[in-house]
Symmetry: C2
Subunit: 218 residues, 2 copies
């Protein structure tokens, strides 16, 4: 029973995702779906990124969490428009779906937006399966997780268009082999650009910011 | 459509979980379901725990991962019997279910087991919803994640019978307020025992080991 029904849910999601994609394209908005485990530093990375990009780039953020609007409050300090989705009203869903994005997008002044960042639910599994109509997906891994995460959660790294290896300021205090982590990401997705950076110190931010600016301009 | 079907899946799981629970009880095996985000240090914590408990306690481990048997290989070095479940054969499932546990349990010599540890898939959301017939649930949070994780993923902390705050050896290098994290866990689950420890240095292991030994004896 389970598999055909999952398929139906994914198909309905895909239909809405294509509608979202068409709408965002018409309005010339680059949509970035940012995914990771809980605690990888997505919010801090996005906050620092938006501080650099705004107001040159007109950016908005959709923040997904099961509960609380803590992340939305943090991101609003960057000056970006922020909309929080709490999935507890959808049964505590472990991912954002295309229909949630469609509803959240209505809260923005889309004519005045170049970049829409979606901070997905902290989960390295389920969000990888749900197209939300984004232009690109980014996965964030932090150096406090294991080097083998890309091999253990391959789908997330296969579908990502770029990866961030975050918290490199902590490398001196950890037994973490960053080269091995990067090699494992490339094993799963050989052509993926990977940005080693620290959201805390902003070390390594330049190539990441450049990648976003190039993507928005395209 | 989605909600009644999810309900059916959860009901079928619950029926199998009750069968598992009855079987484990008859054989006097304490079953511990260990859950967390990817990278919180579950495997290292369990490896060090088993090194202390074995061979006084006869222990087995079921390790859940989408892909690889890296964690199983690490845990086998403790001397425990280890069975790996890879959920990629079940469509990359983001949690272990009661029927997977029933199948994996058949691989053990159950008459010679006091303790069965289940290392669940790295995911702070979905595993909380799936009863596997365990005796107790433990959630592992690490100090490299945010203090507000218990508020953002409340179900996991509500259903847990105990919590570990791991990697306390890293506290000097982080802006992490351990008291705030503990307070947030207690906000969600006021009576939960919480063990602050480091799997790396084994600091704080004593109360955690005592808790397991008491639970196994009961």
């Amino acid at each position: 029973m389970e598999i055909p029904i999952q398929k139906k849910v994914l198909e309905a999601n895909e239909t809405q995702a294509q509608k979202n994609r068409k709408m965002f394209k018409e309005k010339n908005i680059f949509v970035l779906n940012v995914m990771s485990s809980p605690g990888s530093g997505k919010t801090e990375t996005l906050y620092k990124t938006l501080k650099i990009l705004m107001p040159k780039i007109k950016a908005g953020v959709i923040v997904g969490d099961i509960c609380t609007r803590n992340d939305a409050d943090r991101l609003e300090a960057s000056g970006a428009q922020v909309v929080q989705i709490n999935t507890d009203q959808f049964g505590g869903d472990c991912h954002l779906s295309a229909d949630m994005i469609e509803k959240a997008a209505r809260c923005f002044d889309l004519e005045n937006l170049d970049l829409l960042i979606v901070e997905n639910i902290g989960n390295l599994v389920c969000p990888a399966e749900f197209d939300i109509g984004e232009s690109a997906k980014v996965v964030v891994l932090s150096v406090t997780e294991g080097e083998d995460k890309p091999l253990k959660y391959p789908l997330m790294f296969q579908v990502a268009d770029a990866a961030i290896l975050n918290k490199i300021d902590l490398l001196p205090y950890l037994d973490f082999n960053a080269k091995e982590a990067v090699d494992n990401m490339l094993k799963v997705h050989p052509t993926m650009p990977i940005f080693l950076l620290s959201a805390k110190t902003q070390e390594g931010f330049e190539p990441w910011i450049e990648w976003i600016l190039d993507s928005v301009k395209r």
